[in-house]
Subunit: 336 residues, 2 copies
């Protein structure tokens, strides 16, 4: 394995990688700005702009544009659907930050901190309805069905995460289910609807769906790993956030499964009881190292990225297929 790449190089790689979609993404951003306006309630665009314009990578809309682009789709609905998935994602973030009581997102203060929880809840609802309106405009019942299912899975995953938090018996399967809810389902739906709108074959649509799923899982595992080894410049979060918030992500789950009695008591105190003291994070990191949990987590992320790339095999030989493969590499570049 090579050393972790510097953040700067990654940023440049990513921008170059997705440059084929620059024109379309401009249209997506315009549509987002147009649709987040509200005649009556100026609070809505205020809150939304804070989040939408905070420099997220726009990965989900890119997946939609890329999937449609694979078939040289020439209509406008890919742009509509790309804006739709970004709205859905933004709505989820707003509600997430309320649920997590977060204070930082993408290196900036969260909306619930700047305004209040109420605004985050209601503006999130407004964005859900706007995304809903946009997808209706595409006139595709199949697209609507995919996104209705996706939004159900997302909400279910969030509730699951909430009710199973701080439970040391959380296994890898359970973790995967939560990750699908919080990340992979929308990645998967974003890619799938791009294929649907471009009238790809059923086999190709299934492949796009699987690609999105594996890519989303790779991303989320990498994110959860970075929480233990990343730096603030990269993720906008401090190292050890998940530990402090007592979240059972993959590195912890692997360590706990392999723990001896002393370690188990340590996890019980820090995660279940939430009694954390000076030096606990350092001790946790030492256990993760000893149990090889960070290496194994990285290997899992890499395996999911490979799986994403494997899903692309049957798709049309097109320069965009290479971009999709590149995105899978990008997902794990920060940890490989």
């Amino acid at each position: 394995m090579t050393e972790m790449n510097s953040d700067k190089n990654i940023a440049i790689d990513f921008r170059e990688l997705v440059s084929p979609f620059n024109a379309k993404m401009k249209a997506v951003n315009e549509l987002i700005r147009e649709r987040m306006a509200s005649r009556h309630a100026p609070r809505i665009p205020e809150v939304t702009a804070h989040l939408v314009e905070s420099g997220g990578k726009r990965l989900r809309p890119i997946l939609t544009l890329a999937a449609a682009g694979l078939y040289d789709y020439e209509g406008d609905y890919d742009v509509y659907l790309a804006a739709t998935v970004e709205f859905l994602h933004t709505a989820t973030l707003l509600h997430d930050d309320v649920v997590d009581e977060s204070e930082m997102r993408r290196g900036r203060a969260t909306a619930n901190l700047l305004w209040d929880n109420k605004s985050s809840v209601l503006v999130g609802d407004y964005l859900f309805s706007r995304s809903f309106k946009l997808m209706v405009e595409t006139g595709s019942l199949r697209v609507l069905d995919i996104l209705a299912d996706a939004s159900g899975t997302i909400a279910e995953g969030e509730v699951l995460q909430l009710t199973s938090a701080r439970d040391l018996s959380t296994g890898e399967e359970h973790y995967l289910q939560i990750v699908r809810g919080k990340t992979a389902t929308l990645f998967s739906a974003a890619a799938e609807v791009g294929g649907v709108v471009a009238e790809a074959s059923e086999d190709d649509i299934a492949a796009l769906r699987e690609y999105g799923d594996a890519l989303g899982i790779a991303f989320q595992i990498a994110d959860d790993l970075l929480d233990y080894k990343g730096d603030i410049g990269d993720t906008g979060k401090k190292v050890g956030n998940d530990f402090r918030e007592r979240k059972l992500t993959l590195p912890l789950i692997k360590s706990i499964a392999a723990s001896n009695r002393t370690e188990h008591s340590f996890w019980q105190r820090c995660i279940c009881k939430g009694e954390q003291r000076e030096g606990d994070l350092e001790h946790a990191l030492a256990i993760l190292e000893k149990r090889n949990a960070l290496v194994e987590t990285r290997d899992d992320a890499l395996r999911w990225a490979e799986r994403a790339k494997d899903s692309l095999r049957g798709l049309p030989k097109h320069r965009i297929r290479d971009v999709l493969g590149g995105l899978a590499d990008f997902a794990v570049m920060r940890v490989s």
Copy 2:
């Protein structure tokens, strides 16, 4: 005007009035129970059942069933759409209670108090997605469009209410806009989609939409009036809740518009500054009486109920049309 009717009589009248829909409502309730289940997250049906089975009147689903029934609709989609609007309504209530920090709803502790705000936010999101899935199953893009617009207007109205709270310059027009957002829009959409699914004429669909709008406004004005003169048996809330929460509803808006300097200072202290003392509610009620605000508010409610009935004129002569007229009377019966 007659004396206010006793709650018991009203309950009996209502049940009798809507008895033609008993069989269909049973199917709606079954569908709701079926669809609120979640394989993975048992918290979801727990929270939902608390609200769905707390004995609300199910007015919105009845409107959908009634509108479709006017045309002797024989399919099942009226049941789907009735469940859809009830899910939308329930989702809104869950989020509302978080935003309002309510502790009582329909005479019971609210979900945010029994579980937590997080569960209310996420289970609300889940119900949105379930309602969305149900409407997609009807296969009607027109229905989807109506409900997408409605859910946007609802969220917008809530944000508007949030950002204009405690502002003494709130006028009647502004109030009406908030009422449309929080109540009338869903009433209107519920009636409209019933007509659409039963393939009513465009004129009839427009009439159903107007009927629902006027009915919803009549209901909300009556509700806001009851907050100053109702009793706990009827609304499940204490008198003066809106005053204590410093909400500018129609009785206050009318009083403030007619206030002299002393009264204006009183409103400023109680509503803007929120400095409320023992005896303030009684004083507020005395001003409302003096300024004739309760009588005028009641007259407005009655006028909207008449308007609802007027909208029914061009609709088919059918026993269900009489039920719809009866619902308009029922809306204001509690205050007339």
